[in-house]
């Protein structure tokens, strides 16, 4: 069935291209935020926190960012980087819905649920 195979291939190309664009924006943003934090750290020479400590909760990272603390900005950049693959999973769900490929909608939703579960494990 070469014809069906071609259609499948075109579908996959479309999905992959959409995911590629999302990933590029996500990685670019994460990289930019990390770079700003790192440059601030090098220029000021101050992390904004006691030696060898850094914020690890959502609230302390956000508080530190409003005070322009370099390490808080770096942590936020790292968090964006960690989120990027999860973003790819979310976009894939919509891509598979659009293709009416419901087996893969279910599979991808399951992967996302596992990742969300990981956030809860990390917090506890």
């Amino acid at each position: 069935m070469p014809h069906e195979n071609d259609t499948l291939k075109a579908e996959l190309n479309q999905i992959e291209r959409t995911i590629g664009k999302v990933l590029r924006v996500g990685v670019g943003l994460a990289g930019l935020v990390m770079l700003i934090g790192l440059v601030l750290l090098i220029i000021t020479g101050k992390s904004g926190y006691p030696a060898d400590t850094w914020p690890t909760s959502f609230s302390s990272i956000l508080t530190g960012m409003t005070q322009l603390k370099p390490v808080a900005i770096m942590m936020f950049g790292l968090f964006l980087l960690i989120l990027t693959p999860a973003l790819r999973v979310i976009v894939s769900i919509f891509a598979f819905i659009k293709e009416a490929d419901y087996i893969y909608v279910a599979i991808t939703v399951l992967v996302l649920l596992i990742l969300i579960f990981a956030i809860f494990v990390g917090h506890s």
């Binding site: 195979n5 499948l8 291939k9 996959l12 190309n13 999905i15 992959e16 291209r17 995911i19 590629g20 990933l23 590029r24 996500g26 990685v27 990289g31 990390m34 770079l35 934090g37 790192l38 750290l41 090098i42 020479g45 992390s47 060898d52 850094w54 690890t56 909760s57 390490v71 770096m74 942590m75 950049g77 790292l78 968090f79 980087l81 960690i82 989120l83 990027t84 693959p85 999860a86 790819r88 999973v89 894939s92 490929d101 087996i103 893969y104 599979i107 991808t108 399951l110 992967v111 596992i114 990742l115 579960f117 990981a118 956030i119 494990v121 990390g122 917090h123």
Partner: protein, 281 residues
């Protein structure tokens, strides 16, 4: 501060370039350099390492998407097993004695290295599987890719999905526990067990590494194992290095890739065994 950041940036560039070429997460390079060369606490080395894995995967994926080699369905299906494994590994990392796993994984990598060496001597070219697997057909996993080296479209079939899934759980477990990308395990599952050709196996593995690492990195991020002053310059270096590396990788033939893989697997294997035995090199 400037010197340390610059040093970490260089570690990142090298790890990203080499990681992308070998289909590894870059973490396998980061942890030994940080612990053995720089004498850093293994806890923070693993934290930085898992960030390195995500950066390698994301950087390489951008390049691979253009080249249209990866198999997105295989990636999604197997990510169920790698993320469950990674989560289990990250939880176990706090309470479990890793000695047995170090030894087990080390031996497994040495075995795989020998296995690939044997295969390399046996066949000169890649023969894609033509076996019909009902489950692979139902899940629409069979695909094709354009091989730049052969200058032609290569159709391939996927088989032995349950076996591949089991290895993927192990790959996720190793990733979460040791902060590595487990690229060699993932390639082992796809290339070795499921009979996917090496190039789609490598690039699909790169893609999966990011999602797998996100599961365990989330745990490490919130429990304070990721030191931003170490992890950020490494991540930035890797984003640059892996983008270049994954482009170069496309131009290499499968045989050369395998040849590069063999000593890498062997070295990592021996390193893991020694670590398990408590020997510090």
């Amino acid at each position: 501060m400037l010197l340390q950041a610059l040093l970490m940036l260089i570690v990142g560039v090298v790890a990203g370039f080499a990681g992308a070429i070998l289909g590894l997460g870059g973490g396998i390079i980061v942890t030994p350099v940080l612990t053995l060369v720089m004498g850093m606490d293994i806890k923070y080395a693993i934290g930085a390492s898992i960030i390195a894995v995500i950066a390698t995967s994301s950087g390489a994926t951008i390049a691979f998407l253009k080249d249209d080699v990866l198999n997105i369905r295989v990636a999604m299906l197997l990510e169920i097993f790698t993320t469950i494994g990674a989560l289990t590994g990250a939880i176990l990392a706090g309470i479990f004695n890793a000695t047995v796993l170090f030894l087990l994984f080390g031996c497994l990598l040495v075995f795989q290295s020998w296995n690939m060496y044997r295969k390399l001597r046996g066949t000169a070219s890649e023969v894609p599987s033509t076996a019909h697997d009902p489950l692979a057909a139902k899940l629409r996993l069979n695909s094709s890719y354009y091989d730049k080296q052969l200058k032609q479209q290569v159709d391939y079939q996927v088989e032995k999905i349950p076996g591949g899934a089991l290895i993927m759980f192990g790959a996720g477990l190793a990733s979460g526990l040791l902060g590595i990308g487990s690229g060699s395990f993932k390639v082992m599952a796809m290339d070795g067990m499921m009979k996917m050709p090496l190039k789609p196996s490598s690039s699909t593995s790169n893609l999966m590494m990011g999602v797998t690492a996100t599961a365990s990195a989330t745990v490490y991020f919130f429990n304070g194992s990721i030191n931003p002053v170490i992890a950020v310059p490494i991540a930035l270096g890797i984003l640059g290095g892996s983008t270049v590396g994954s482009r170069v990788m496309q131009l290499l033939p499968a045989r050369v890739l395998r040849m590069i893989f063999i000593p890498v697997l062997l070295i990592i294997g021996v390193q893991l065994i020694l670590k398990g035995l408590g020997v510090n090199i």
